[in-house]
């Protein structure tokens, strides 16, 4: 997994790339959660994430919940078809902010 972060005003966009599994979840959390804790709105762009398992889903849930604690939000953007299927299997499409 690789990533890139861009800033635009109060919005930070994290572009994740590759496959998100248990082996990289800590790295993903280390990137995302500190930004969320600053209170910034975080956009997670998943267009280049080709695979995500339950560990990756946990990162999305934890990021979402951390955002609520910090009175901000995480928006999950440009989800690939295969990742969307996993999100829907977990019945999280109504919980996460998907765009």
């Amino acid at each position: 997994m690789s990533y890139k972060v861009t800033e635009d005003g109060n919005i930070s966009t994290v572009y994740l790339n590759g496959e998100i599994d248990m082996d990289v979840t800590e790295k993903a959390k280390e990137v995302i959660l500190p930004i969320v804790e600053t209170g910034k709105e975080v956009h997670l762009n998943l267009k280049d994430v080709s695979y995500m398992d339950s560990s990756g889903i946990s990162v999305l849930i934890e990021s979402h919940q951390k955002a609520l604690e910090n009175n901000t939000k995480v928006v999950v953007k440009e989800v690939s078809k295969s990742v969307l299927k996993v999100i829907m299997m977990a019945k999280l499409e109504q919980i996460l902010n998907l765009e």
Binding site: E19, D53, V59, I61, E62, V86
Partner: protein
């Protein structure tokens, strides 16, 4: 097409990608639809992850290996997982309720959603746990 292939992997999170590559290669030979291939690869990866995460909980840097065997015979897909981790007590395995939104606990739910059946068999001398996932395809 009937097929039987197996491969062993070091019990480690770093092996999960290798598990997916192996699974995709096998399913590619079977010429399954992409959606079904994706689901099956996810189920296999989740089961392998459970071995690393739960079977070897609190055990770091093991040299143990786990084996995955994929076989298809007359439309019956069977995926076997063999490991030497902590003995699994099937009655203790349960996924979290979906409306209890929190990180974790989804892997077993995914497996049950994708596969027709998941059973732990006690038929191995060499291994501690033998999980068998089956699906009619």
């Amino acid at each position: 097409m009937n097929i039987e292939e197996s491969k062993d992997f070091l019990v480690s999170t770093a092996s999960l990608k290798e598990v997916r590559v192996f699974s995709r290669e096998v399913f590619e030979k079977l010429k399954l639809e992409q959606d079904l291939k994706d689901e099956l690869v996810l189920a296999i990866a989740e089961a392998a992850q459970n071995i690393v995460k739960h079977g070897y909980k609190d055990i770091e840097n093991t040299n143990d290996r786990m084996e995955i065997k994929i076989s298809l015979k007359d439309g019956d897909l069977e995926i076997g997982f063999f490991d030497k981790g902590k003995p699994v007590i099937p009655e203790n395995i349960q996924h979290r309720k979906l409306d209890d939104i929190k990180p974790g606990g989804l892997g077993t739910f995914f497996i049950k959603q994708i596969m027709d059946d998941a059973v732990f068999k006690k038929d191995q001398q060499k291994w501690v746990n033998h999980l068998v996932l089956t699906k009619k395809i």
